[in-house]
């Protein structure tokens, strides 16, 4: 154990504080608009059929009462806090009677499946490329060709996604045209379905990895340059170590440490960060859900998703803090 319980407890208290503050902030922000989400939602529904039925305003008001949106703000806030503590995120305004949890759980597997994986992949690939870029003995191929590939990092992921779809899926028909799985197949825990899902995730994953790897590569390159100046690299080379060991165990291993902290931050943005790619790909993730909820000002949905994000961020940070000493033996929380 590299940390004491009192540290863990304090750190946990901090986590709760951040979650509370973030939840509060995010409660009030959407309330700053003069918009009425219920009217928007009901209007949107009505204009879909091109027809606004009489009694529309009465309907809006009745729903306001129903969702408690006509009560004073502080009452709404207290109710919200109470609900959140009980883990009750309430109903979606726009999709009543679907609950916020139901909707989140529908999107979560896709988000985790695609975005978590691609963020990690982009991290690994990018870091490796960055390290190779800074490694003087790496083949020139890495140092000159790969940076040009990194131009992808200069193009927003959704533009890459669009272009990839157009060529790879639409023109060359190499992979499916978006969506989470084939039209006509049904979700099940079978090999064929899983392969189908993977097949469908190739393009979005590729777009996200291409777009994301560049940033990691830059960071890693910088760290690797620094690490190479360290005395231990010189000494390790003088020990007559093989090139790859020198590179991986001495160079990459040390240069990666500061990157890990950034990874924690990046992981916490996967939900909000890839909205556009999800949109372009027709991929049913949480990002899309959040973007739409914000557009519809579906308060409870926004609160719910943001709350989940906040908790995810806080917990990720917490976990990172907890495992960081395992990665870097120099850090220790034993006495503080």
């Amino acid at each position: 154990m590299r940390y004491s319980w009192s540290f863990v407890l304090r750190r946990f208290g901090q986590l709760l504080l951040v979650v509370w503050a973030a939840a509060t902030l995010n409660f009030f922000i959407p309330k700053l608009t003069p918009r009425n989400p219920l009217r928007e939602k009901l209007l949107a529904e009505a204009t879909r059929s091109g027809y606004i039925a009489p009694g529309f305003e009465e309907m809006v008001q009745a729903y306001e009462t129903k969702f408690g949106l006509d009560r004073p703000l502080w009452q709404q806030y207290l109710t919200y806090l109470g609900d959140v503590v009980r883990g009750d995120l309430g109903y979606s305004i726009a999709n009543y009677p679907k609950t916020v949890w139901e909707l989140i759980l529908e999107g979560l597997p896709w988000t985790i499946g695609l975005l978590l994986t691609t963020t990690l992949l982009a991290f690994l690939i990018g870091s490796l490329l960055g390290a190779l870029m800074a490694w003087p003995k790496a083949s020139h191929w890495f140092r000159y060709i790969l940076p040009s590939l990194l131009i992808f990092g200069a193009i927003p992921a959704y533009v890459i996604a669009l272009t990839l779809i157009y060529f790879v899926a639409f023109r060359w028909k190499l992979v499916p045209l978006g969506g989470g799985y084939s039209i006509g197949s049904t979700p099940s825990l079978t090999m064929s379905f899983i392969l189908d899902v993977l097949h469908h995730s190739i393009l979005p994953a590729l777009a996200l990895v291409l777009a994301g790897a560049g940033g990691w590569a830059i960071g890693m390159r910088g760290m690797m340059v620094t690490v190479q100046g360290e005395d231990y690299m010189t000494f390790a080379e003088a020990k007559g170590l093989k090139e790859w060991r020198l590179f991986l165990k001495y160079g990459v291993r040390n240069a990666l440490l500061p990157q890990v902290t950034s990874l924690a931050l990046a992981l916490s943005f996967i939900v909000s960060g890839s909205v556009l790619v999800e949109l372009v790909m027709g991929y049913p993730g949480l990002g899309t859900l959040l973007a739409r909820s914000i557009n519809q000002l579906d308060y409870f949905m926004i609160y719910g998703i943001v709350f989940v994000i906040v908790v995810a961020i806080a917990v990720t940070m917490f976990i990172m803090d907890m495992i960081y000493p395992l990665l870097d033996p120099r850090i220790s929380y034993e006495r503080h």
Binding site: E106, S188, F193, V280
Partner: protein, 585 residues
Amino acid sequence: GGGQTAAPAAAPSGGEAAGGAAAPAEGAAQRLKDVPRERTLIVMWAGTDGQFTDVGLANGYATGSKNGHRAVLGAFEPLFYYSAFADEVIPWLATDAQYNDDYTELTVKIREGVEWSDGTPFTANDVAFTLQMLKDNEPFLRDSTAIKAWVESTEVVDDLTVVIKFYEPRPRFLFDKLYGKFDTGIWWVPAHIFKDVDEIQGFGFYDLEKGWPVVTGPYNVVDWTPQQQTMDRRDDWWAAKIGFAELPEIERIIVIPWTSEERASQLMILNEIDSSLDLRATTISQVVAQNPAVITHTGRELPYGYIDWWPTSFWFNCDEPPFNDPNVRWAVSYTIDRQQMLDVALEGSGILTELPFPYYPPLMPYIEATKPLLEQYPTNEHNLDKAAERMRAAGYEKDSEGFWVKDGQRVEASIVGGAIFNDIGPVLAEQLRRGGFEAEYITPADAGTRRSDGTAKISLFGHGGSIADPFDTLDMYTSKYYRPTGEPAQFFSRYRNPEYDAILEEMASMRPDPDDPQYMDLYLAAIEIYLRDLIDCPIQQWLHRIPMNTTYWTNWPTQDNNYVNGAFWHQTVGLILHNLKATQA
């Protein structure tokens, strides 16, 4: 394309899918039988951004559902179908409906042998129950406000006869509420299930174990995830049983959520889907060009669509300067160049309109009669001189940069649009700008609120009014919908004119009939006021440009085979489903 087989290998057995959960339902794969692609209809619509958020909301009255029949395609049926294009009423769950002489009572006869999917007969009681339910749950349910205001009571005479009594004469009730057409018409619920439901708008009505939803239509949902919704044909459908209609050829319907035109077009070109929401003029031409199997309402010719009941206008806030002045409204109309709009934004493929009506056969007599008036009030004319004249009349002068100013104020003419107007919107705004209006095309997320509370001074929007009777659209301009700016209004012209109100009031109590000279005169008086004041500024007919793929299915509704309008998301979808024939027999 690779990988898109219609039916994957069967999965091991397992539990049933719980309503709404996203978790892969192990049972689903086994429960579903294999249906070949050529017996499957795949359409893309509903949902947004590639996701269904209403998974498990089969109850069309649930707040978050897609409303009525749309929740589960092909599952719900009206009492009567009405096809505006064929101008034909097709009795369906009912056989007949008769008003009494003063239009205060309507007697509806239910067809014998209609059954719900759980075997319970569909009776007069279900109709009476549904109407009562709407009255009781006002205003939460769609149509409930109107029903509560109109319907005094219902009387179930016997299993097949129900009498609906009104407070006042309601000659339009039958057409408005009992005919399934476009997007209107009441959706009937099974009384034996809904009677036990506490909160109708919070009821999902989806539980495959229980056989929910309970429907009368030939299809019912068998699988529903955020990614797709699958409906299978019910071979024990009542109409086939009693010989009223044959089973449709389509064995399975799959609905996938809408994402974007780009994706819909690509899927269409690759024959992945059979139909979709309507596409823009500029995209559908590409789809037609790139896939010879795709047809449209006008075949493979321009304009690739049919006129919807939703003609587009510039709606003004007629209660606020500067658009409270008819001169300014007319100046706007003269300033925009509709033909240029068509040529540039729609690549020449649109239909302009001089009046806020869809040019449907029943409305044509009225439109013909308006021709002389249109000579005097040329609503489609592009004429900057006339615009200038009108602006000067309103007290404006041009400033050094070419903008109209009065009291140092330029005319702020931002156009509130929405995604569907993204093609014409920027062009119109630019035309206004060049004509001296400080215009910009905007698509705020709260466009709906801005329109309804009047903070949007000009908005691009449709009408959804008249189909067979000019009254419905004209009624939108009466002062009963007037609310001061800032308060939400159902129709948002904010136009007030007692003279106009009086004409419309008189029309309201009359049976619509173009051959009735009195009715026609009233109409002409009203439309003259509309034209004189240019309450809104007609821009174009709204076209539904629906791509229809003949690779797997033929006999789509087209102008040569005009049995119904082609929007499969309308109430008349049943008619399309019954008509489609498999291409590869």
